[in-house]
Symmetry: D2
Subunit: 390 residues, 4 copies
Amino acid sequence: MTTRPLRVAVIGAGFMARAHSHAWRTAPRFFDLPREPRLSVLVSRDESKGAQLARDWGWESWSGDWRTVIDRDDIDVVDICTPGDTHARIAVAALEAGRHVLCEKPLANDPADAAMMVAASESAARRGVVAMCGYSYRRTPALASARRLIADGALGTIRHVRAQYLQDWLSDPDAPHTWRLDRAAAGSGALGDIGAHSIDTAQWLTGELIEGVSARLRTFVTTRPQRSAEVGLGGTGDPDSPRLPVDVDDAAAFIAGFSGGALGVFEATRMALGRRNANRIEINGDRGSVAFDFERMNELEYYSADDGDDRQGFRTIQATDPAHPYADAWWPAGHGLGYEHAFTHQIVDFVRSIESAPASPGFADAHQVQRVLAAVEESAADEGRYTRVR
Amino acid sequence: MTTRPLRVAVIGAGFMARAHSHAWRTAPRFFDLPREPRLSVLVSRDESKGAQLARDWGWESWSGDWRTVIDRDDIDVVDICTPGDTHARIAVAALEAGRHVLCEKPLANDPADAAMMVAASESAARRGVVAMCGYSYRRTPALASARRLIADGALGTIRHVRAQYLQDWLSDPDAPHTWRLDRAAAGSGALGDIGAHSIDTAQWLTGELIEGVSARLRTFVTTRPQRSAEVGLGGTGDPDSPRLPVDVDDAAAFIAGFSGGALGVFEATRMALGRRNANRIEINGDRGSVAFDFERMNELEYYSADDGDDRQGFRTIQATDPAHPYADAWWPAGHGLGYEHAFTHQIVDFVRSIESAPASPGFADAHQVQRVLAAVEESAADEGRYTRVR
Amino acid sequence: MTTRPLRVAVIGAGFMARAHSHAWRTAPRFFDLPREPRLSVLVSRDESKGAQLARDWGWESWSGDWRTVIDRDDIDVVDICTPGDTHARIAVAALEAGRHVLCEKPLANDPADAAMMVAASESAARRGVVAMCGYSYRRTPALASARRLIADGALGTIRHVRAQYLQDWLSDPDAPHTWRLDRAAAGSGALGDIGAHSIDTAQWLTGELIEGVSARLRTFVTTRPQRSAEVGLGGTGDPDSPRLPVDVDDAAAFIAGFSGGALGVFEATRMALGRRNANRIEINGDRGSVAFDFERMNELEYYSADDGDDRQGFRTIQATDPAHPYADAWWPAGHGLGYEHAFTHQIVDFVRSIESAPASPGFADAHQVQRVLAAVEESAADEGRYTRVR
Amino acid sequence: MTTRPLRVAVIGAGFMARAHSHAWRTAPRFFDLPREPRLSVLVSRDESKGAQLARDWGWESWSGDWRTVIDRDDIDVVDICTPGDTHARIAVAALEAGRHVLCEKPLANDPADAAMMVAASESAARRGVVAMCGYSYRRTPALASARRLIADGALGTIRHVRAQYLQDWLSDPDAPHTWRLDRAAAGSGALGDIGAHSIDTAQWLTGELIEGVSARLRTFVTTRPQRSAEVGLGGTGDPDSPRLPVDVDDAAAFIAGFSGGALGVFEATRMALGRRNANRIEINGDRGSVAFDFERMNELEYYSADDGDDRQGFRTIQATDPAHPYADAWWPAGHGLGYEHAFTHQIVDFVRSIESAPASPGFADAHQVQRVLAAVEESAADEGRYTRVR
């Protein structure tokens, strides 16, 4: 490619920063991009490991302070991979400085922060500056194909949305504490971490908004041992470590009403023993249905009421076929894609949106997810009473 | 068998009466029973077809009036397969007359009726007369095996119950009207018809009771064409027929709190296109999990946290192995059982309970299900507010 | 039914006799039959248990000698459920006596016997006497539906047949000896017991004949402990019992050429640990494919190349839908059928064939299976050389 | 990493060269490598696209002639991704020049070539020069985990190997011609392309060698339209194009005897409509079984006879758990890996073998696969007679 480079700074040094680093490196190798990404700066507060991570993940340089990066003229994109409580500050400053922003979900822990970010993104849009939120599951080919099916009317009128996001890495009561269990940093627990994905996916797939919810939250394990060192998700903490309080939910369940009349049932948990990353959604319309489970991420189940009486059934579609979104850039049919491919696709869509198209999901879309999360918490605090999303 | 015969009357002429007839005929051929059932009388209000059905299904005689049957000295068992609004009258009369009673679920449409039935069953029990309610799914070998696993502690403390009962025979808006869509006869819609099974199964498997619920009901299709004739479930009605109102729910969703602290999520619908009879339940404890789907009724999924790190996963157990309840009476392992086998097992357990054991589920157990159903309806009418089961 | 009774004698007292007994009793309850079966006589060489089995399984009387039964004027049907070495004698005598014959598979252990049986059946046919062989899997709704699909051209030209019949009840080297491991009684091992089903199913589904085979047989466990008593398939023998020789195959594999050009790959084994009764077949044509596994006997997988590019995939069809053969006689869609239903359907088809139609599979069809079995054994003895079916 | 760079040249410009390019770039980002790969030269005969591909895939330079590259002192590794007929020349020259060699499978089309390559690799090994063959499926975590289970004795004595490699990209008779259908370039058809993978996997998993085979080959479509341009696998050719002959097999089937006594059944086809890349293998021992299907590449099925009677079943193990080979370098459990990850793992193992360990599979291992392929062709030409692998 002989394109104008797109100079990127990533903020963060955790699991998500690594996934984004890989995606920035990989996207131009498999897709035609209007601009060539350049991995300019990695920002990590932990100076001792910043240089190492930058080298390991392929960044040209590193910095200990995100503020200095935003002010540099030679940075085009700020990619925010830090915990949710820091998003607003960084994103607003970056947008005001004219940087395109890709921000991990959840958009913000605090509703006021989220609203401020939306305002900043709208102002930026008028100056041609792009803001996108990282609901990466939208870029899984099977789900992107499901959305196309639904948009084409293959399901008819939607009646049911059934979404579960089941993990089990907190099932062990001695799994160590992490910032994801700290309300101040994470906003909420399973609800905001993984339930947010279900909400975004459900609204995006159906093209309908959640209007109200009736909810219940549960925390099964209220203290956990301090983690001795950064050892990834899961694992077993040292039982002799001091125990820290857990002030977020382990599990969230809610019933939702959709703008088009569909009935939604949602569950998010990190205690469903045996389910590693079962991000599942099923949608039933009056003409067809789709079902998806991220543990079999290359498959989409699709049922059509138009099939003949003796040959009706859920089809197991391999979303690696070239007819599916993103798939033809990769390998022949049946050669599966993995988790990180959705991040690569996200970079592709983000870079293209800089040149030509509105980013999706924009901050307003992500704000809508936050509003649903807020309604869930409000309903749960009000004995489950049906609470309007505002 | 050279046993004292057990003379049975079945009340009803529909789908359930047929399933029970087959079960009464089949049970003694595959199981040792303490008494030999004799299919004495079939009762059908429709006199024109009573004789025919009795002959087709193997009953010695027929009657048009259940009252006359109950008073006969030569009847030992009254097996009630009529719609829910008639259960109380028949069951109470039969118990008072000293007949053992097997009553289809739901126990009764009306809470007062149900309470009366419980009282009658308790009084009867003191006279050695047995009353059982027909929650037949308990007799599916895979579920009976799951219960044994849980009772043995294989799942540890239960955290999650996830139950869905998904059907689609009402998905077509022109599927004909039936008594199951008439509140007066059926009590409720998907909730009482199939959701009741999920409630019973969940409480029975976990050994915990549902203490409160937060619920929402939906009716998607509010009128349906009159059925021209008895043509079974489903099918398409004549669009030119007059349309009758549907005054029950098409779908029910509720979140439940269990007595042991588990979080339950329930959904019952007859509009989940592509799901014919997906009676599903998954239970996650802190040591293991089980999952079941009636569409694969001979399989039980089981996950054990005790398995080695590199060999953990849900096992697909074939419940046809002789180690599973009921299974060794039938065929070699891997030779599947069907829907009606649960009814046969129900007869086996019922007959044995007459001789020796308390019937399970008794009317009090079934009443508890009714109380949950009532709390669901109450919560749904109160904007989903968490409602105690009383 | 007010029909002329059809008086039946069953010969045998094992697993198959029991399955047939149940089927004879059940068929008229769920299907309209032109004649009403009457369970007249059970024949068991073991006089001590004949009376008991007759009573348990619902037969009016019993006899210790099949010859006396065949000569009785009041017997219309002889149903042969004995080991293969006895089939020819009984079947030929019964046909000559004018009895309709249903004979379990394999037709005969010896080719000359089989030829004689075919001749007897042809002679009988001219006198209106029916002979059918018990390849019961043809009556599984999912397979019967697959046959209809193929006959309708939904698969186009057949290229591949892939059939496996996998069991594991002999995996334990101390599983006890049985007549099925004795060449004189059983003819062969896995090959004739279960491989024969695969051969029949493959030829029947495709409408093509196997023309030649290249084969290999294996016996992994060459002696087994004597069984102390009749305890069903499987189980563990007493290690202290004397060990008897196994002179049949534990496993058979062969490659087949079909008359229409398809390439077949077959495997039959009773040593595939973990596979209880995986009777599997997949057929690929140039327009579509079907796949079936008896362990999920209510499901048929079907792939159509006519489906749109982004919605192609194997459909999991629930063969309990009323559009599938036999299914509408039973329960609503999604309420699974079991192993014995195929036997019930076999009786239905057999009784109907007595009144109106040629029996299928007739003895000539079953003889063709025997000829394939013989070619397999011949090829295996000749270093796997491709051997024509003669 | 501050390691001595490892300067790599890739030979080829097709699908495999792309997969290897990605792997060379990605391996050091996720794994600690003893030396840092440097993507020095891409070699493509097609000069017009060499520069473009080098740029797209991240190579520093390109060349039109592999000979010039091998002689360069600044190249450490030659990675051969060309059709099989060119492997021997390039590999032998590279090894003699002291370059480490990674060579795509099949090792060579011609047995004499393969033997020469083995000799060259042995000579090179004495000089510390490494040669590895690219049987990449060995690096799929699920299969690598299966091998560990088997090596640990979890399956006991192996009795059955059941391997199918099913694709369908040639099902359409107008799918265009490609070098893979030309015997001179490809050696054989489905047999050498995908059947070779099954052979390697089976021998590697079991630790046993195939000693003899009984085989049959089929070509269903004997001419195909010339491809207008390079458009990837599959697709539909222009029916107006001239048709070129297909002189390789579309499908191969063979029965195998293993050195440890196991019975193998193998099938490879590119005409199994609906199966995109079903690289399947099941192995049954006397203590356990494993099963794998690449279409669900992140799952391993495992059955243990040690499980309790009422809880035996195939476990669906998610090979993304960190306990599985390679998995902990990537994402949390349940976040699937894709096809290309095996190539990345292959680079990891290859680079490590340069520093410290014998490469596996070495050329001798790959030669053994070629010898099995030769025996298959010999047997197929000799009417399927069992043919020893020599």
